[in-house]
Symmetry: C2
Subunit: 270 residues, 2 copies
């Protein structure tokens, strides 16, 4: 089995792949488009894409890509993001003057870096920052990335868990070509559009509320070519093979202009 | 009167400032944070911030900044974004091999650039790309930016309106310290949180639907420190001085854990 992810070897996404799928083959991809293409072209059996971070919010590009491709969501996984301060072997923490990493990781460690008088500098990727540091051999620079990235490049971890806010989780979705019937408690993800009239979102949410179906997420994205009209993405508790879910979606179809099921999958339990 | 905006002189945001406020003084700011700070510190009377693009979606950072600052939304403006291909004076279009601009502008002209075999290269800002081009003097490079940026730097416009999708609008919000009572048809923007229980979003949207109040936008953002709970931002037709609006928000307050009015302002008419 081979699973595509975005980023370099040692990326948080790769960590999530191993945690979710076990010991599988992985394929690092430069962009999220390339991740989707790897599954569509059957180069990979599955992919794991980040969809939302508990601090930074949704990764909207992946919502747009889910709409553009005919793939199925078959699983979700929540990864606790723990950033490490990584250096060349033998370097001491007090010698570090500069930290390199992806902008989001630097932002999530801003208070830590300030309190240690370490200057942040953006590079394109977290795992990539470890690679850059190793190539440069700089002894006053640290990279901020995952523990796995440090180990992969044979580098030294100066400190673990340097993120300012420990409530830092990323939700990932597993996608593949064929849908799966989830066992146990499940979630379903859908995308739909509504007529641009008063009360339409109220009616759309009523199909769930009237059946005591719990919504876990709502996201709106612009509808291309129709300024200020929206696509709505909703996740809710339930699976497509359950009668109550079918009835709720039949009801929603009465109001929706477009409605597509992106997949039913087991709800992740920590 | 002095108005803050994010970007360099000649930015689309500056164009929007002149269209909305008329001939006022402007203050270019490096970041959105600096724009908000300019109003809070009274260095500027107002600011104009982009909140949403009809193709790319919401500018989430500005939603977060609206929450963090105690400022009032007093107006909205929609700018049609028209990108120009800009060169050194005297250069011919067929000599252009590379185009520099902000990633979003390059993305919005991707088909045009491909069909003209022009290679895109990212820089930090649209108006900044014109400045960079002028300083370099390169004759096989074009910048992609506003007409105003070309004029400001005394550069040549090779072609106007090179964006792939003409339905390209950015919505801006005018913010200041004091609220204003809007005349005529108005919009109101609010932000609130709900209990994490089934049916809560349905109840929240009911307070508008039951009073035939039209929602124009809903946006969700992560609630910091409470993973997978959300802040909701809603824009609707109506003003705070109208009884029906007051009643709807009193009703919403029965369900909301937190509720804040960000401002009532005249609805923009094209």
């Amino acid at each position: 089995m081979k699973v595509a992810f975005q980023g370099e070897a040692g990326a948080y996404s790769e960590q999530a792949v191993f945690n979710f799928f076990g010991q599988v083959g992985t394929r690092p991809c430069e962009s999220f488009e390339a991740v989707f293409d790897a599954v569509v072209s059957k180069t990979c059996d599955s992919a794991l894409i980040p969809i939302e971070n508990s601090l930074a919010g949704s990764i909207h590009q992946n919502y747009d890509l889910l709409l553009r491709h005919n793939l199925q969501i078959v699983g979700e996984y929540f990864l606790r993001v723990q950033h490490c301060l990584i250096s060349m072997p033998g370097v001491k923490k007090e010698d570090i003057r500069k930290a390199i990493s992806h902008a989001q990781a630097l932002g999530q460690c801003a208070a830590y870096l300030r309190s240690h008088a370490i200057k942040p500098e953006q590079v394109y990727d977290t795992a990539g920052s470890v690679k850059i540091l190793k190539e440069s051999g700089a002894i006053d620079v640290a990279a901020i990335a995952s523990k796995r990235a440090a180990e992969l490049y044979g580098m030294q971890i100066l400190e673990e868990g340097i993120e300012d806010n420990p409530e830092n989780y990323t939700r990932f979705l597993a996608i593949q070509s064929e849908s799966m019937r989830p066992e146990g408690e499940a979630k379903t993800s859908i995308v739909f559009t509504l007529k641009n009239v008063p009360g339409s979102l109220f009616k759309a949410t009523s199909v769930f509320a009237l059946r005591d179906i719990d919504l876990t997420k709502i996201e709106s994205r612009p509808l291309q070519g129709k300024p200020w009209e929206y696509l709505f993405y909703i996740d809710f508790i339930g699976a497509m093979h359950e009668d109550v879910t079918k009835r709720a979606l039949d009801h929603l179809a009465e109001y929706a202009v477009m409605l597509r099921v992106l997949g039913s999958y087991p709800r992740f339990k920590r």
